[in-house]
């Protein structure tokens, strides 16, 4: 078993390198398709042809884009994320603190969202068809069908503007005590929990129901096992694969998909950073962010796969 899992990880590392390379090229071609380059964007309304040419030369943007991309790729192999075109700062410095911020927000949200979703999903499945199940189902769908910016704005209006309990902005650097951390993170975490939990609840419920219907769980119940026992010991292990997958996908959203939450709460994370990169055509920055999102995503799904295999040996 252990050697198998190790082999799988090794295999995954190899294929991850391939995925990263694909992402890198895809991002390069997508960026190349975007109209305009860093010099024209920076000059904006002042982009006269000679001003553009001058700035392009000063920023070393006059050599072919593919050459610059290839150079960045080689640098990446040496662990160098390159230098931002826009402000000449190493990309690693730009990303540094913002990456930590993103991971912190993702971590705190996971801490609350995953146990909550599992509990709601499993119980809803056990009492399938009951009023409780209906309420959970309608509420989860109802809540996620409200656009993110609506949840966030409502939360700010309620907790910041009217009740004045929480700050409307989340400046990560202001946090000096645990109480402050709670205050600062409360609203983004509430918003994101709403956003990511629904899929996890739905998928957990569906997967557990599916396995409850299998003959051996029914047999267990017929043999006199309690419902709890049947579900937790017999049904759940078989449902772990799809559940882990759903959790991994939801969590990967927290790495790069929280642009709206970052914007509304003015939280300095990397999603906003990549949007900045795209709008200034800052290739090294875009590429580095894409690689981070990809690594995060691959780590999560590989982890999900390993969990699935450990839980259901037949997949081997």
């Amino acid at each position: 078993m252990r050697t198998y899992v190790l082999g799988l990880i090794a295999n995954r590392l190899g294929s991850s390198a391939l995925t990263l390379l694909i992402v890198s090229f895809a991002v390069f071609f997508a960026t190349a398709m975007l109209p305009g380059d860093t010099a024209t964007i920076l000059l904006g309304q002042a982009a006269t042809p000679e001003a553009v040419a001058g700035l392009r030369a000063a920023m070393h943007l006059d050599e072919p884009a593919f050459l610059r991309f290839a150079r960045w790729l080689v640098g990446l192999l040496h662990g160098d994320l390159g230098t931002s075109y826009v402000n000449n700062v190493p990309v690693a410095d730009l990303i540094g603190t913002r990456f930590v911020n993103t991971m912190r927000l993702a971590g705190i949200t996971t801490f609350f969202a995953v146990p909550l979703s599992l509990a709601l999903g499993i119980t809803a499945a056990m009492f399938r068809g009951s009023v409780y199940d209906r309420v959970v189902t309608v509420l989860t769908i109802g809540i996620i069908s409200v656009p993110e910016f609506m949840i966030a704005t409502s939360a700010v209006l309620l907790f910041s503007v009217y009740l004045k309990w929480l700050p409307a902005l989340s400046f990560a650097s202001d946090a000096t005590s645990f109480a402050q951390v709670l205050k600062i993170y409360a609203m983004p975490v509430i918003t994101l929990t709403f956003v990511v939990s629904a899929q996890m609840i739905r998928m957990t419920r569906a997967a557990v129901i599916d396995t409850i219907n299998t003959p051996y769980v029914e047999a267990a119940i017929l043999k006199g096992a309690s419902r709890w026992r049947a579900v937790l010991l017999h049904a759940l292990p078989n449902a772990v694969g799809p559940i882990a997958n759903a959790i991994a996908l939801s969590l990967s959203y927290l790495v790069g998909g929280v642009i709206i939450v970052e914007t509304i709460f003015n939280y300095p994370g990397i999603a906003k950073l990549m949007v900045d990169g795209v709008s200034t055509r800052d290739l090294p920055l875009i590429q580095s962010c894409a690689i981070i999102f990809c690594v995060g995503y691959l780590t999560l799904i590989t982890f999900a796969d390993i969990v699935a295999i450990l839980a259901n040996p037949r997949v081997r």
Binding site: L34, P35, G36, A39, T40, I41, L42, L43, G44, Q45, A46, A47, T48, E50, A51, A53, G54, L55, A57, A58, S84, V86, N87, V89, L94, T97, R98, F149, A152, T153, V156, L157, S160, V161, K164, P167, A168, L169, F171, T263, I264, F265, N266, P268, K272, L273, D276, G277, V278, S279, T280, D282, L285
Partner: protein, 536 residues
């Protein structure tokens, strides 16, 4: 702005403010108000509001927090590259200009003690003595030479390269005297030097990340796209110095989030809010709106060298089809002044008040469209969120067109890349022009035959000649007359439809005092941090 006056709209407020700026006496103002139908008591209120900034005594101390509306990793502390309001605010806190414009639009000296010229071509600038940079170095003429010459180097990427090109030489005569030579006479040089980009940096600066200037604040931390923190400069050369101890500035791009941050007490000032948010601020006690009408406008550009704009009747039709009143009333909720298709704002002393805006007249428009043979065709119209309120304006034109059988295919394109891909390029599109201090700058940037941003490709030799003639004139009356005629030419001949001048509205908390209007833009021409104070 919390007190309501019947029939009194924000545009009337602006009118009074402008009159005050033009130097009208109180008596004239009251006459004006009475003519406008406002009760005498109401008139007193308005005047009180427009002049209330003068009364109070500044308080010292406190941490000022303010939020602009745009910020990214492209944020810079290099005044030459500054492009967004956020950059201007930071640069105003850190650096000084040779001159600046007060709320009446008059040139005042800042780092310069005097700027003189006999022929408007060769100018002598005397610098103030005893001014030091944040790192202790004294200000000298070499710093000024370096700061001005930078704009001529294409590698710097200066935003005012086009304007700076008229400077042929800058030399230091002695440690506190600089001589500036222009290619052609330009009487507006002192005003030009008041533009934000012409801030003075230390000689030889290449790394701008430290923000070393002579300004009221020192840089503490600067994170592009996140926030900046400044502390009071104890050695500031202006008497009194800044009132607040520290200043924190960042951007909240979402309009509602910015206002909510203000209402929850997280910030003292939320810059440039949308008209649709005014109701909310007005409904809350302890907050106020500060309005500036300074010549910012969003215009509908019809290129005269491409179809359909090559038919003069199409352009004329558009000028009658655009419902200026509705744009002022519905889109901007009164926070605008009706404009007459030319760029010189009513607050300017050169504004031609004789020139009336074209009336909204769908039948006349239909007549012109018919004459141009374009009635019934579908005309693509490019719009975007990038120029302020352009999407709403496009919708209004589209709707008016639909009623007379003229179809506009409104295409909203992403704001990302709008300025480099659509602006100036598409046959019918929207643009947005920031306030510029003089008609000369507006005309040379936007309407001269060789103008870099000739939005409608307007070409007129007569116009070009008048521009050069007026530029060198030191006789104000003569100048005003020529500029007046040029405004008529633009309004009648160019393809730029300028429906309204858009007011900028900053929402502030009631304990923020000392904020005044400024012709260079909102937030006191972006320099508010130095002048405002926090009342406990």
């Amino acid at each position: 702005m919390n007190d309501k006056i019947t029939n009194w709209t924000a545009s009337d407020d602006a009118m009074v403010e402008n009159a005050i700026r033009r130097g009208a006496t109180r008596r004239e103002l009251l006459t004006m108000l009475l003519a406008g139908g406002a009760a005498l008591s109401a008139g007193g209120l308005v005047l009180g509001r427009a002049t209330n900034a003068v009364a109070a005594t500044p308080k010292s101390g406190g941490n000022l927090r303010a939020a602009g509306w745009s910020s990214s990793t492209a944020d810079t502390l290099d005044p030459a590259k500054a492009s967004l309001s956020t950059d201007y605010v930071r640069c105003c806190a850190l650096y000084n200009r040779l001159t600046f414009l007060d709320q009446g639009g008059t040139v005042q000296m800042e780092l310069a003690e005097s700027i003189k010229s006999g022929d408007a071509k060769v100018w002598t600038v005397k610098l103030r003595s005893g001014v030091t940079f944040h790192d202790g170095k004294s200000l000298s003429s070499n710093d000024v030479v370096f700061s001005l010459k930078r704009h001529l180097d294409p590698a710097v990427g200066s935003k005012v390269n086009a304007i700076a090109k008229q400077i042929t030489d800058v030399k230091a005569l002695d440690p506190l005297t600089v001589e500036i030579t222009l290619a052609n006479p330009n009487a507006d040089l002192p005003t030009i030097l008041a533009m934000h980009h012409f801030m003075i940096v230390a000689d030889g600066t290449t790394d701008f990340s430290k923000g070393i200037g002579t300004g009221a604040f020192k840089m503490e931390t600067f994170e592009p796209g996140v926030k900046s923190i400044f502390s009071k400069n104890p050695n500031y050369f202006k008497a009194g110095g800044p009132h607040v101890d520290s200043f924190e500035f960042f951007a909240i791009t979402d309009d509602n989030a910015r206002i909510n941050a203000l209402l929850s007490g997280d910030i003292h000032l939320a810059a440039s809010i949308k008209p649709r948010s005014m109701k909310l601020v007005e409904s809350q006690p302890g907050f106020a709106l500060s309005q500036t009408t300074s010549g910012n406008y969003t215009d509908l550009n019809i290129r005269l060298d491409l179809a359909p704009g090559d038919k003069a009747d199409f352009v004329m039709g558009m000028k009658h089809l655009i419902n200026r009143q509705q744009i002022q009333k519905s889109v901007l909720r009164g926070l605008a002044e009706i404009a007459n298709d030319q760029p010189v704002p009513p607050a300017s002393i050169y504004h031609n008040a004789e020139l009336k805006p074209k009336a909204f007249d769908p039948e006349k428009a239909k007549f012109h469209f018919q004459k141009s043979g374009l009635l019934g065709q579908s005309i693509p119209m490019i719009t975007s969120e990038a120029p302020t309120s352009a999407v709403e304006m496009a919708t209004i034109v589209q709707q008016s067109g639909a009623e007379i059988g003229m179809n506009f295919d409104v295409q909203r394109v992403p704001s990302d890349g709008y300025w480099s891909n659509y602006w100036l390029k598409a046959p019918v599109h929207f643009g947005n022009i920031n306030p510029r201090p003089t008609p000369d700058i507006l005309f040379s940037l936007l309407y001269a035959s060789n103008a870099p941003w000739n939005e409608s490709q307007y070409k007129s030799e007569k116009f070009d000649k008048m521009l050069v003639e007026a530029r060198g004139l030191l006789d104000e009356a003569k100048r005003k007359e020529i500029y007046g005629q040029m405004q008529v030419m633009i309004s009648e001949e160019a393809g730029t439809v300028i429906p309204v001048f858009i007011s900028n509205v900053d929402a502030i908390s009631a304990n923020l005092k000392g904020l005044e209007a400024n012709p260079l833009g909102g937030m006191m021409g972006y320099a508010f941090a130095e002048y405002v104070w926090l009342d406990a």
